[in-house]
Symmetry: D3
Subunit: 290 residues, 6 copies
């Protein structure tokens, strides 16, 4: 190793080790989007195997990692192959029993399995779950006309905690149940926030396909490094936060207000973005603070 | 309560309580077939909700219950809906990547979920798993021409044990993985036996649609109450055990030889057959002993 | 097993198992009378060996059982053989030092031993105790003229708890002590109630030679299935509860008010009455509730 | 305090403290004779209250003390009052069922209670037991003609250990049981030795009314300070050990050979003889060594 | 042993054992002066080896002993050998960096080692420490002109507790540190009091070369056996307590007010004075009470 | 952060994290030389504060670090100031009682304190010890003519383990004791190896002022990256290893043969050499393997 290289590496290590120490044993909930996966091979979102490697590295240095994933595109694809047409209300897919069955098969039996497998290439670490397991995600119907689209009412963190204590990585498909045993499809962004709050996680991270939150969505130069929950509320109110970013932002402020240390909106297209955010001074993307 | 009824009830209790004591804390692995479920409503196999009730009752009195299920008919049905035709070799479905994807979706995302839900109507007890979770079921390909049809090589019981220790009921879909992360569909009867052996279970139970094992398959009067593993070997050798019963019988003898207390082939059509077998003197069906 | 018999047995088990689960690990204090034992062989109270069998079965399915017994008739008998005449005040035997010695010998050295032995035929489970052991029952004199007849002041539950934690069955003779080391004979019905309260038992049971509590003592048709503590108070006040039933009833209401789950007055003459009361829907005898 | 007195006291303490340290947490079994108690008031054996004080002091400095007692004279007295004549064979009382009942009442219900009470004046420390409790002393009949006179076959130390771990002082009446639940009266000297061996006690102590073991029983000048088990065997063989001393000596050699640290025959008439033996250099009485 | 000697020894033991019991497991902090050691061989303070023996005996009977020592004379000696002259302000040595280095070498590297060695002749019990270890003694400068003379601000008892829990004897040299890592020499009397308070010790003992505290320092007949903290305050105010006794007395009252059971000023010249004070009724020296 | 910088940092982290995981919880013994400290300010060995920072960082990411130090130059300096001349035999200082006193004061009271303080600037982590504490280093005299120069006979690791378990960093001055309580000065290189072996450390590291071990000491190009213990033996035998390197090399081979994972000879002059060696692929200096 050349003296220069040694010095550079030493600098990175001296910078990173205190963060590694600080986050050891802490819980982090990472929301990984369904879009990311479909686009993963050679695409703009980073790929599943790099994501899995980061998750395994975070776990390796003692963090307790929970992955929450969605799977909208994949559900749409199977519905298409089965010739089942969807009706939409306010942009939400009306979910009848048969559609729910398909959604559940895809989320639990396909997307969840793919994430679990990608992680387990590195060792027997990941355990797939849905909110039906031990009924840990409780939900109720959002509105009669939407069918089995649910809102999360409650999270029982004990099963996830048990897996984390066993040094495992829970990977959660966001199907929830009500007291009568009926299943619901719930929004994965919202579920991730509720899970982070129930676990009193140190960090809640959304991996997206943007650089972070901008005070002016149309101006890349207005990327925010840190932003408070109150400031975010104001930005939602004045329309600076829009569309798909809204449930993420709402979950971030919600979770931080309920005790989560920090929430992060990161650019999933940057390789190893999780390591850079957690283990360097400058970080990357937007951090939401109290 | 009349004196006669009181006396009858007291007799059943006096008979049952010592068994309940003996089996408290013991592990039982129950194989529940895919056929049973499709036929369940009003059909000859007893129905899923009665089965779930028995599982919950066994759990209630302190047994540690693991459910293993298949799902052949349900896989066939979805393949049909998707217009995917299967090729068979020696009666086994050739399983290419796409077929495996469908099988995994159905087993993990549909059948497994239905069993979990049926149990969880009684409380947050069941946790669905596949052998990919924590890579607990290792397999390798049976033969190149069959594709992703696997044979179980090894079972790591630690994840299941952890769930049992948490007073939960693991429900296992029999997808397995190899060291490289490739998934395989494995025979559920065989997997149940391997899991029971790895757990050193007290009991391994197959719920079938026959009364038990007969020394002469065509003669109901030859139903065996108990049979030794050596006697079963002889019956396989001389052809008295046939067809679909062969993998069950092989798994029974295998499991008992590896330390499982007893294996049972029971008639799933008798309501509450599990309770009757475990908690009465005379039992029901066939018990395989060392 | 015939289909009908199987179905009947299954019904009893389905009925019983949830109760067995509910009471596992719970404490039950059973008061067993001295009368029951003298009359036991072929007599109307059920016999000691059936009682012991029930106690062992309750223990087998995980209940923590404490037996409290009296022994009035047996004390009288030895006093008679020794030619010691008793003087009575308000129906209570005046107990001088010598009489106390005899009472203690009989209760601790004879009756207690017989109950312990009857249980231990089934295994090394029972441990005899008196309130002098670890001074766990504290008492003071009721009145100077009665001599060493005491009223229970306090119960230290730690020694009993230790034995219960060791999976043993404490059998208690109701001799108590004061701070100076003086022993007293105390009423066994009252002591049983005080012990149940100190242990925060789930159940306190009196085995008697009547069917239960009647709203009209002279009319068997007025047997009460359940009764509240307030209703019982009223019945004592209006004279519907009389004589020997009074200390039992007072102990029941006292114990339930101090946190015991339920108190029961059962007919000890019905074989296996404890099992029927605990493990069937309809129960038997009278249950006292908050 | 004068300088001389201070110096004397300091010398005793410097001498005693290392012994106190050495014996802390060690188990000592003390056999206390029935004779000692009857003669206790103003009599030659020291009295029960001084004995109890020593037991409490040994316990106070961390020793785990087990008291084993006899009660021959007290049994004889009650038999006399009841007009029951005893027949003797080879100096042993023939024990029929009724005699056993009396012996049990006296040992468990009278003598045991008196020792427990004398100790508990100092605090709730002593717990009375007989070998029937948890069936911890197993015996079988010595000979048909002696009736229910038993020989100890086995000691289950777990119940005593549990009480010692709870910082309590077990006081044992030597009634034993066989597998069928039949009780027997067993020799207390022998039982004490068997209990000490089962507990792997540090010390086994017999409190007697002689100064110790003499090589010539008729010559006080031949008192032995220490003696090996082999030398004792020789003394029994040549007749130097006689009569009532024989079961004590046999129990001492037996216990030491089975792992008890030392056995001691002490003069119970010397006040605080236990403290002097344990906590001074020179000791007192006879110590039996490997 | 003669009967008289036996009786005398027994009396001392009966007197001592309850104290031994009472103090077992309790923490005692003993301040041992630097003067004592220089004078120790044949001198008036008792010697180091007798002191060490007492410490080991207290430890042997279960007390948790912490030794705190000074070393003024020894520091002065090395400064002299190195030709370093000290300047004094108000009787306190001005301590520059080089003087602190010498003081630290002597206290930690010489005096502390000698105490540790004297104790460890009896076994591997003593562990030397200074307040720099784990930064357990925090201090700040008393005044700029005194240099590195510090006042104790805080004591973190966790490291000492850990050593006590490991059955070791911490021996403390009173060097303290501030948050910036600067070391200070602190008064050992004061430090002992602060450590005793932080440990919530049962006893704080100062070994001195006087008999105790006198109400009139010039009159030996006015030696106080016990004195309250309020009375001591009054004596300081009216000048009855003088000079070198003042920091000891202030530490005693301070410690007792903060929860230390009792403080003692003892005459270190009396052999085994610690044993006599702790384990006899009359005690010796002066005991300070609430 | 620029994309390039992010990518570089990510690469270092991806490289380092698996090592950090692998070494978490593992014990490393680091020998730090007395030379290093005297030369530390601006000198060629790296300085004490950078060394301390590395130790704290290793500790931060979960390694259990033990520092062993020498102090030859500092001892020589104080002897000089005191006008004490040393006599040398075979290059070893003859150590009489007074010289030992000085050596002990310097090692324990000066050098050890400086290392402890440098670490504790980062938090209350370091605890200074010498082998006299709990007598954990046993030694005997090397030869009569050398006086109190000792060879390590035995290491009792329990005290160090206890401190490591308390998440502390033991800093060891290499004074040892014999059974009689006599202290000895022992070679710090040898002591470090013996301590590493007793702790079954994962790594033993010597920080030196050379780049590592060369197969030809005069040729920098022959620096060895890894070398086996057998190869090192051969190099000692043929003279390729010389002088001051010999005790280090002997300790390395000894320790590795006794179970230490790897031994390392590193260049203490390279800043953060410990981090580079442990957490990068290529390492630095020479690693000694089985």
């Amino acid at each position: 190793m050349s003296v220069d290289l040694a010095s550079e590496k030493a600098d990175v290590l001296v910078e990173a080790l205190p963060y590694i120490r600080r986050f050891a044993g802490k819980i982090v909930v990472v929301k990984y989007g369904g879009n990311a996966m479909t686009a993963s091979v050679g695409g703009p979102h980073g790929d599943l195997s790099t994501f899995a490697e980061d998750i395994v590295l975070l776990h390796a240095v003692g963090m307790k990692v929970v992955v929450v994933h969605g799977g909208g595109p994949q559900i749409g694809e199977l519905l298409g192959r089965l010739g089942m047409e969807s009706r939409f209300v306010d942009g939400l897919r009306v979910t009848d029993a048969e559609t729910l069955d398909v959604a559940r098969m895809v989320l639990v039996g396909k997307v969840n399995r793919d994430v679990v497998s990608a992680i387990n290439v590195h060792g027997p670490l990941a355990v797939g779950m849905s909110g039906e397991d031990g009924s840990f995600l409780s939900a109720s119907a959002r509105s009669p006309e939407l069918g089995f689209v649910g809102d999360v009412d409650d999270v029982d963190p004990s099963l996830i905690c048990r897996l984390l204590d066993a040094d495992l990585i829970p990977v959660v498909a966001t199907i929830a149940v009500d007291a009568g045993g009926q299943s619901y499809n719930v929004n994965a962004d919202t579920a991730a926030g509720a899970i982070a709050a129930a676990l009193q996680a140190e960090k809640l991270v959304y991996l997206t396909d943007v650089e972070g939150i901008r005070s002016d969505p149309s101006d890349p130069a207005t990327l925010l490094n840190t932003v408070t929950v109150d400031a975010l509320d104001a930005m939602v109110a004045d329309g600076s936060v829009r569309e798909g970013m809204i449930p993420k932002v709402a979950s971030c402020t919600n979770a931080v207000r309920k005790g989560v240390g920090h929430a992060h909106v990161l650019d999933g297209r940057v390789p190893h973005v999780l390591l850079l955010e957690f283990f360097t001074h400058s970080g990357i993307g937007t951090m939401v603070t109290q």
